[in-house]
Symmetry: C2
Subunit: 174 residues, 2 copies
Amino acid sequence: MFWKSLFPGAIGSETPTGIGEHELLITEFVAANGERIHVYFSTTRDIDVYALEALCDAVGWAKRPLRKVRKALEFSFLIGSLWQERGQNRRLIGFARATSDHAFNATLWDVVVHPEVQGKGLGKTLMRQMIRELRREEISNITLFADPQVVTFYEELGFHPDPEGIKGMFWYPS
Amino acid sequence: MFWKSLFPGAIGSETPTGIGEHELLITEFVAANGERIHVYFSTTRDIDVYALEALCDAVGWAKRPLRKVRKALEFSFLIGSLWQERGQNRRLIGFARATSDHAFNATLWDVVVHPEVQGKGLGKTLMRQMIRELRREEISNITLFADPQVVTFYEELGFHPDPEGIKGMFWYPS
Protein backbone atom coordinates (compact mmCIF):
# COMPACT_ATOMS: atom_id res chain seq x y z
CA MET A 1 0.00 0.00 0.00
CA PHE A 2 2.97 2.32 -0.54
CA TRP A 3 0.98 4.36 -3.04
CA LYS A 4 -1.20 5.96 -0.39
CA SER A 5 1.81 7.45 1.36
CA LEU A 6 2.68 9.23 -1.88
CA PHE A 7 -0.62 10.93 -2.46
CA PRO A 8 -0.20 13.71 0.11
CA GLY A 9 2.69 14.98 -2.01
CA ALA A 10 0.75 14.86 -5.26
CA ILE A 11 1.38 17.68 -7.69
CA GLY A 12 -0.59 16.18 -10.62
CA SER A 13 -3.25 18.07 -12.53
CA GLU A 14 -6.65 16.58 -13.30
CA THR A 15 -6.38 17.17 -17.02
CA PRO A 16 -4.22 14.54 -18.72
CA THR A 17 -1.43 15.85 -20.90
CA GLY A 18 -1.08 14.24 -24.31
CA ILE A 19 2.35 12.86 -25.18
CA GLY A 20 2.34 11.22 -28.56
CA GLU A 21 -0.74 9.74 -30.18
CA HIS A 22 -1.47 6.91 -27.81
CA GLU A 23 0.41 7.68 -24.62
CA LEU A 24 -1.02 10.00 -22.02
CA LEU A 25 0.37 11.36 -18.76
CA ILE A 26 -2.55 10.92 -16.36
CA THR A 27 -1.05 12.30 -13.18
CA GLU A 28 2.23 13.01 -11.44
CA PHE A 29 3.29 12.77 -7.78
CA VAL A 30 6.34 13.49 -5.67
CA ALA A 31 7.24 10.72 -3.26
CA ALA A 32 8.43 11.39 0.29
CA ASN A 33 12.02 10.91 -0.90
CA GLY A 34 11.53 13.54 -3.61
CA GLU A 35 11.30 10.95 -6.39
CA ARG A 36 8.78 11.70 -9.14
CA ILE A 37 6.06 9.12 -9.82
CA HIS A 38 4.07 9.25 -13.06
CA VAL A 39 0.94 7.43 -14.17
CA TYR A 40 0.55 6.87 -17.90
CA PHE A 41 -2.28 5.58 -20.05
CA SER A 42 -1.23 3.72 -23.18
CA THR A 43 -2.90 1.88 -26.04
CA THR A 44 0.31 0.70 -27.63
CA ARG A 45 2.52 -0.75 -24.90
CA ASP A 46 3.16 -4.48 -24.89
CA ILE A 47 1.29 -6.28 -22.14
CA ASP A 48 3.18 -8.98 -20.30
CA VAL A 49 0.61 -11.73 -19.74
CA TYR A 50 2.15 -12.62 -16.37
CA ALA A 51 1.83 -9.01 -15.17
CA LEU A 52 -1.74 -8.90 -16.48
CA GLU A 53 -2.72 -12.11 -14.74
CA ALA A 54 -1.06 -10.90 -11.52
CA LEU A 55 -3.19 -7.74 -11.77
CA CYS A 56 -6.36 -9.79 -12.36
CA ASP A 57 -5.36 -12.11 -9.50
CA ALA A 58 -5.01 -9.07 -7.19
CA VAL A 59 -8.73 -8.29 -7.69
CA GLY A 60 -9.66 -11.93 -7.16
CA TRP A 61 -10.46 -13.01 -10.71
CA ALA A 62 -10.12 -16.66 -11.67
CA LYS A 63 -6.85 -17.78 -13.23
CA ARG A 64 -6.91 -18.17 -17.03
CA PRO A 65 -4.74 -20.19 -19.39
CA LEU A 66 -1.94 -17.87 -20.58
CA ARG A 67 -2.22 -19.28 -24.11
CA LYS A 68 -5.80 -17.99 -24.28
CA VAL A 69 -4.91 -14.67 -22.63
CA ARG A 70 -2.24 -14.11 -25.30
CA LYS A 71 -4.72 -14.92 -28.06
CA ALA A 72 -7.37 -12.62 -26.56
CA LEU A 73 -4.85 -9.76 -26.46
CA GLU A 74 -3.82 -10.43 -30.04
CA PHE A 75 -7.40 -10.30 -31.27
CA SER A 76 -8.71 -7.45 -29.15
CA PHE A 77 -9.44 -4.29 -31.12
CA LEU A 78 -8.24 -1.94 -28.40
CA ILE A 79 -6.07 -2.51 -25.34
CA GLY A 80 -5.72 0.24 -22.76
CA SER A 81 -3.27 0.07 -19.89
CA LEU A 82 -2.30 2.21 -16.90
CA TRP A 83 1.31 2.32 -15.75
CA GLN A 84 2.94 3.64 -12.62
CA GLU A 85 6.50 4.77 -13.26
CA ARG A 86 9.37 5.73 -10.97
CA GLY A 87 12.51 6.40 -12.96
CA GLN A 88 13.11 3.28 -15.05
CA ASN A 89 10.73 1.23 -12.93
CA ARG A 90 7.40 0.53 -14.61
CA ARG A 91 4.40 -1.29 -13.15
CA LEU A 92 1.07 -2.29 -14.74
CA ILE A 93 -1.71 -0.96 -12.45
CA GLY A 94 -4.73 -0.85 -14.76
CA PHE A 95 -6.10 -2.59 -17.84
CA ALA A 96 -9.10 -2.72 -20.18
CA ARG A 97 -9.69 -4.15 -23.63
CA ALA A 98 -12.39 -4.10 -26.28
CA THR A 99 -13.50 -6.52 -28.95
CA SER A 100 -15.01 -4.92 -32.03
CA ASP A 101 -16.07 -5.26 -35.65
CA HIS A 102 -13.97 -2.10 -36.28
CA ALA A 103 -17.09 -0.39 -37.60
CA PHE A 104 -20.26 -0.34 -35.49
CA ASN A 105 -19.86 -2.16 -32.18
CA ALA A 106 -17.28 -2.47 -29.45
CA THR A 107 -17.59 -4.45 -26.22
CA LEU A 108 -15.37 -3.80 -23.21
CA TRP A 109 -13.88 -6.69 -21.21
CA ASP A 110 -11.45 -7.18 -18.33
CA VAL A 111 -11.62 -3.66 -16.88
CA VAL A 112 -9.37 -3.74 -13.81
CA VAL A 113 -7.48 -1.33 -11.55
CA HIS A 114 -5.05 -2.61 -8.91
CA PRO A 115 -6.67 -2.58 -5.43
CA GLU A 116 -3.74 -0.55 -4.04
CA VAL A 117 -4.61 2.39 -6.31
CA GLN A 118 -8.41 2.09 -6.43
CA GLY A 119 -10.62 4.95 -5.25
CA LYS A 120 -8.46 7.64 -6.87
CA GLY A 121 -10.38 8.06 -10.11
CA LEU A 122 -7.95 6.01 -12.17
CA GLY A 123 -10.68 3.55 -13.26
CA LYS A 124 -12.80 6.41 -14.57
CA THR A 125 -9.80 7.94 -16.34
CA LEU A 126 -9.01 4.56 -17.91
CA MET A 127 -12.60 4.16 -19.12
CA ARG A 128 -12.83 7.74 -20.44
CA GLN A 129 -9.70 7.13 -22.48
CA MET A 130 -11.10 3.86 -23.82
CA ILE A 131 -14.32 5.63 -24.86
CA ARG A 132 -12.31 8.43 -26.49
CA GLU A 133 -10.23 5.95 -28.49
CA LEU A 134 -13.33 4.02 -29.63
CA ARG A 135 -15.13 7.21 -30.64
CA ARG A 136 -12.04 8.30 -32.55
CA GLU A 137 -12.35 5.04 -34.52
CA GLU A 138 -15.99 5.96 -35.32
CA ILE A 139 -17.42 3.13 -33.24
CA SER A 140 -21.03 4.15 -32.65
CA ASN A 141 -22.09 1.49 -30.15
CA ILE A 142 -19.94 0.98 -27.04
CA THR A 143 -21.19 -1.82 -24.82
CA LEU A 144 -20.19 -3.88 -21.80
CA PHE A 145 -21.49 -6.39 -19.30
CA ALA A 146 -21.28 -5.01 -15.76
CA ASP A 147 -21.26 -6.96 -12.52
CA PRO A 148 -23.98 -5.61 -10.16
CA GLN A 149 -21.49 -3.82 -7.87
CA VAL A 150 -20.03 -1.72 -10.74
CA VAL A 151 -23.26 -0.70 -12.53
CA THR A 152 -23.22 2.68 -10.76
CA PHE A 153 -19.55 3.21 -11.65
CA TYR A 154 -20.41 2.75 -15.34
CA GLU A 155 -23.58 4.86 -15.10
CA GLU A 156 -21.43 7.74 -13.85
CA LEU A 157 -19.39 7.34 -17.04
CA GLY A 158 -22.46 7.60 -19.29
CA PHE A 159 -23.35 3.92 -19.70
CA HIS A 160 -27.03 2.97 -19.50
CA PRO A 161 -28.32 -0.43 -18.33
CA ASP A 162 -30.96 -2.14 -20.52
CA PRO A 163 -31.63 0.88 -22.78
CA GLU A 164 -35.09 0.57 -24.39
CA GLY A 165 -35.42 -2.80 -22.65
CA ILE A 166 -32.43 -4.34 -24.46
CA LYS A 167 -31.21 -7.28 -22.38
CA GLY A 168 -27.67 -8.52 -22.03
CA MET A 169 -27.80 -12.32 -22.37
CA PHE A 170 -25.28 -15.13 -21.84
CA TRP A 171 -25.46 -18.57 -23.29
CA TYR A 172 -25.05 -21.66 -21.13
CA PRO A 173 -25.45 -25.26 -22.32
CA SER A 174 -29.07 -26.24 -21.62
CA MET B 1 -44.78 -15.13 -49.77
CA PHE B 2 -44.19 -17.96 -52.26
CA TRP B 3 -42.28 -19.92 -49.64
CA LYS B 4 -45.40 -20.87 -47.74
CA SER B 5 -46.86 -22.62 -50.75
CA LEU B 6 -43.81 -24.87 -50.80
CA PHE B 7 -43.95 -26.07 -47.24
CA PRO B 8 -46.80 -28.54 -47.68
CA GLY B 9 -44.54 -30.45 -50.03
CA ALA B 10 -41.58 -30.43 -47.66
CA ILE B 11 -39.56 -33.61 -47.53
CA GLY B 12 -36.75 -32.23 -45.35
CA SER B 13 -35.57 -33.92 -42.20
CA GLU B 14 -35.11 -32.04 -38.92
CA THR B 15 -31.51 -33.11 -38.51
CA PRO B 16 -29.15 -31.08 -40.70
CA THR B 17 -26.78 -33.07 -42.85
CA GLY B 18 -23.16 -31.96 -42.83
CA ILE B 19 -21.61 -31.24 -46.22
CA GLY B 20 -18.06 -30.10 -45.86
CA GLU B 21 -16.72 -28.33 -42.80
CA HIS B 22 -18.74 -25.16 -42.89
CA GLU B 23 -21.69 -25.81 -45.16
CA LEU B 24 -24.81 -27.50 -43.88
CA LEU B 25 -28.00 -28.61 -45.59
CA ILE B 26 -30.70 -27.41 -43.20
CA THR B 27 -33.80 -28.56 -45.01
CA GLU B 28 -35.14 -29.57 -48.41
CA PHE B 29 -38.51 -29.01 -50.08
CA VAL B 30 -40.24 -29.92 -53.29
CA ALA B 31 -42.04 -27.05 -54.98
CA ALA B 32 -45.43 -27.44 -56.62
CA ASN B 33 -43.67 -27.69 -59.99
CA GLY B 34 -41.49 -30.53 -58.72
CA GLU B 35 -38.43 -28.32 -58.37
CA ARG B 36 -36.24 -29.02 -55.34
CA ILE B 37 -35.56 -26.15 -52.93
CA HIS B 38 -32.71 -26.40 -50.45
CA VAL B 39 -31.81 -24.26 -47.46
CA TYR B 40 -28.13 -24.14 -46.53
CA PHE B 41 -26.24 -22.72 -43.59
CA SER B 42 -22.74 -21.48 -44.35
CA THR B 43 -19.91 -19.80 -42.48
CA THR B 44 -17.70 -19.35 -45.52
CA ARG B 45 -19.81 -17.92 -48.33
CA ASP B 46 -19.15 -14.38 -49.45
CA ILE B 47 -21.82 -11.96 -48.33
CA ASP B 48 -22.93 -9.36 -50.84
CA VAL B 49 -23.43 -6.19 -48.79
CA TYR B 50 -26.34 -5.10 -50.98
CA ALA B 51 -28.13 -8.42 -50.38
CA LEU B 52 -27.40 -8.15 -46.67
CA GLU B 53 -28.72 -4.62 -46.43
CA ALA B 54 -31.83 -5.63 -48.42
CA LEU B 55 -32.38 -8.42 -45.87
CA CYS B 56 -31.95 -5.99 -42.95
CA ASP B 57 -34.23 -3.50 -44.70
CA ALA B 58 -36.91 -6.23 -45.02
CA VAL B 59 -37.08 -6.47 -41.21
CA GLY B 60 -37.16 -2.69 -40.86
CA TRP B 61 -33.63 -1.97 -39.65
CA ALA B 62 -32.09 1.40 -40.30
CA LYS B 63 -29.90 1.78 -43.39
CA ARG B 64 -26.15 1.65 -42.77
CA PRO B 65 -23.20 2.98 -44.78
CA LEU B 66 -22.01 0.10 -47.00
CA ARG B 67 -18.38 1.06 -46.32
CA LYS B 68 -18.94 0.34 -42.63
CA VAL B 69 -20.94 -2.83 -43.33
CA ARG B 70 -18.03 -4.16 -45.42
CA LYS B 71 -15.56 -3.35 -42.63
CA ALA B 72 -17.78 -4.98 -40.00
CA LEU B 73 -17.97 -8.16 -42.08
CA GLU B 74 -14.21 -8.14 -42.58
CA PHE B 75 -13.55 -7.87 -38.85
CA SER B 76 -16.25 -10.17 -37.56
CA PHE B 77 -14.93 -13.40 -36.09
CA LEU B 78 -17.78 -15.54 -37.41
CA ILE B 79 -20.38 -14.91 -40.11
CA GLY B 80 -23.27 -17.31 -40.50
CA SER B 81 -25.69 -17.14 -43.40
CA LEU B 82 -28.79 -18.99 -44.56
CA TRP B 83 -29.40 -19.52 -48.26
CA GLN B 84 -32.43 -20.65 -50.18
CA GLU B 85 -31.48 -22.42 -53.40
CA ARG B 86 -33.44 -23.51 -56.47
CA GLY B 87 -31.14 -24.91 -59.09
CA GLN B 88 -28.53 -22.23 -59.78
CA ASN B 89 -30.63 -19.57 -58.06
CA ARG B 90 -29.37 -18.58 -54.62
CA ARG B 91 -30.94 -16.12 -52.19
CA LEU B 92 -29.71 -14.83 -48.81
CA ILE B 93 -32.55 -15.39 -46.30
CA GLY B 94 -30.76 -15.32 -42.95
CA PHE B 95 -27.68 -13.82 -41.33
CA ALA B 96 -25.82 -13.54 -38.03
CA ARG B 97 -22.31 -12.51 -37.07
CA ALA B 98 -20.13 -12.48 -33.99
CA THR B 99 -17.29 -10.29 -32.78
CA SER B 100 -14.75 -12.04 -30.59
CA ASP B 101 -11.32 -12.02 -29.00
CA HIS B 102 -10.90 -15.52 -30.53
CA ALA B 103 -10.32 -16.90 -27.02
CA PHE B 104 -12.85 -16.16 -24.27
CA ASN B 105 -15.74 -14.00 -25.45
CA ALA B 106 -17.99 -13.74 -28.47
CA THR B 107 -20.88 -11.33 -28.97
CA LEU B 108 -23.60 -11.89 -31.55
CA TRP B 109 -24.88 -9.05 -33.72
CA ASP B 110 -27.27 -8.56 -36.65
CA VAL B 111 -29.26 -11.77 -36.25
CA VAL B 112 -31.90 -11.65 -38.96
CA VAL B 113 -34.22 -13.99 -40.87
CA HIS B 114 -36.25 -12.77 -43.84
CA PRO B 115 -39.88 -12.09 -42.83
CA GLU B 116 -41.12 -14.35 -45.65
CA VAL B 117 -39.50 -17.38 -44.03
CA GLN B 118 -39.87 -16.50 -40.34
CA GLY B 119 -41.79 -18.79 -37.99
CA LYS B 120 -40.34 -21.98 -39.46
CA GLY B 121 -37.51 -22.54 -37.00
CA LEU B 122 -34.82 -21.18 -39.32
CA GLY B 123 -33.77 -18.50 -36.81
CA LYS B 124 -33.26 -21.16 -34.13
CA THR B 125 -31.33 -23.35 -36.55
CA LEU B 126 -29.15 -20.39 -37.52
CA MET B 127 -28.44 -19.58 -33.86
CA ARG B 128 -27.74 -23.22 -32.95
CA GLN B 129 -25.19 -23.40 -35.75
CA MET B 130 -23.57 -20.15 -34.59
CA ILE B 131 -23.32 -21.51 -31.04
CA ARG B 132 -21.88 -24.79 -32.35
CA GLU B 133 -19.23 -22.96 -34.38
CA LEU B 134 -18.26 -20.74 -31.44
CA ARG B 135 -18.04 -23.71 -29.07
CA ARG B 136 -15.91 -25.52 -31.64
CA GLU B 137 -13.51 -22.55 -31.44
CA GLU B 138 -13.40 -22.99 -27.63
CA ILE B 139 -15.19 -19.71 -26.96
CA SER B 140 -16.45 -20.06 -23.39
CA ASN B 141 -18.62 -16.95 -23.13
CA ILE B 142 -21.28 -16.39 -25.81
CA THR B 143 -23.18 -13.14 -25.34
CA LEU B 144 -25.67 -10.89 -27.09
CA PHE B 145 -27.91 -7.89 -26.57
CA ALA B 146 -31.55 -8.80 -27.18
CA ASP B 147 -34.41 -6.46 -27.99
CA PRO B 148 -37.31 -7.04 -25.56
CA GLN B 149 -39.45 -8.88 -28.13
CA VAL B 150 -36.78 -11.55 -28.80
CA VAL B 151 -35.66 -12.28 -25.22
CA THR B 152 -37.92 -15.36 -25.08
CA PHE B 153 -36.58 -16.56 -28.45
CA TYR B 154 -33.03 -16.48 -27.06
CA GLU B 155 -34.07 -18.01 -23.73
CA GLU B 156 -35.43 -20.99 -25.64
CA LEU B 157 -31.95 -21.36 -27.16
CA GLY B 158 -30.25 -21.44 -23.74
CA PHE B 159 -29.40 -17.75 -23.31
CA HIS B 160 -29.99 -16.21 -19.86
CA PRO B 161 -30.77 -12.51 -19.27
CA ASP B 162 -28.75 -10.73 -16.55
CA PRO B 163 -27.11 -13.88 -15.11
CA GLU B 164 -26.00 -13.25 -11.50
CA GLY B 165 -27.20 -9.66 -11.92
CA ILE B 166 -24.76 -8.87 -14.75
CA LYS B 167 -26.16 -5.91 -16.68
CA GLY B 168 -25.82 -5.21 -20.38
CA MET B 169 -24.89 -1.53 -20.69
CA PHE B 170 -24.59 0.91 -23.62
CA TRP B 171 -22.67 4.12 -23.67
CA TYR B 172 -24.21 7.39 -24.84
CA PRO B 173 -22.55 10.79 -24.73
CA SER B 174 -23.58 12.41 -21.44
